[in-house]
Symmetry: C2
Subunit: 112 residues, 2 copies
């Protein structure tokens, strides 16, 4: 049975982000064919890179507080909220809280 505690999956630093990293929780190596589940982590004051790509994100904030920018919109969002990031729209998640911001982020695998 494939079960993983998130901290047992290596945290890879995102060279384009600021104090941001990613854990690939479930992906092709686990037999996933359609989509990959990652944990994105951002330290206080850090942010994911402002970027866009031709695929969507489905995000669930597990812990922390973020100022999210998607296209021209900004919104402060706390844990236990789901966020949809459409394909082709610039977005960034900034940690505006005092804890590590942790988010489940799912992407289509064909784009991995």
């Amino acid at each position: 049975m494939i079960v993983k505690y998130y901290k047992d999956v290596p945290l890879e630093s995102d060279p384009n982000g600021k104090k941001a990293g990613i854990r690939w929780l479930l992906s092709k190596k686990d037999g996933a064919k359609n989509f990959a589940m990652r944990m994105i982590e951002v330290e206080p004051g850090g942010s994911t890179p402002l970027h866009s790509h031709p695929w969507e994100h489905e995000v669930y904030i597990v812990e922390g507080e973020s100022k999210i920018k998607i296209g021209d919109e900004d919104k402060n969002v706390k844990e236990e909220h789901a966020v949809f990031v459409p394909s082709g729209v610039k977005h960034t998640f900034r940690n505006i809280g005092e804890k590590t911001l942790r988010m489940i982020c799912v992407i289509p695998l064909k784009e991995e």
Copy 2:
């Protein structure tokens, strides 16, 4: 911007489960093309139906403790763990804790 607090999404009871329900957090209605993100909730003593289907699940346990059965394997799994359920394998999640078991569960949308 599509942002949803999980409790603002209706909890639909699962008639085949025991004290189990589902919230469709992100799906086609939100513009998702490839996969849907749901929150599965199981009350103490309840369980999701033992069933299989020709698509995979990617699960993240947000809160609670579950005895998971996938195929012939059983495992007790707590919050902050990711679980991969392969396509075509019978599985059930039983709540063996005292809190509501809450899990993010992602499925391919073509099978919705």
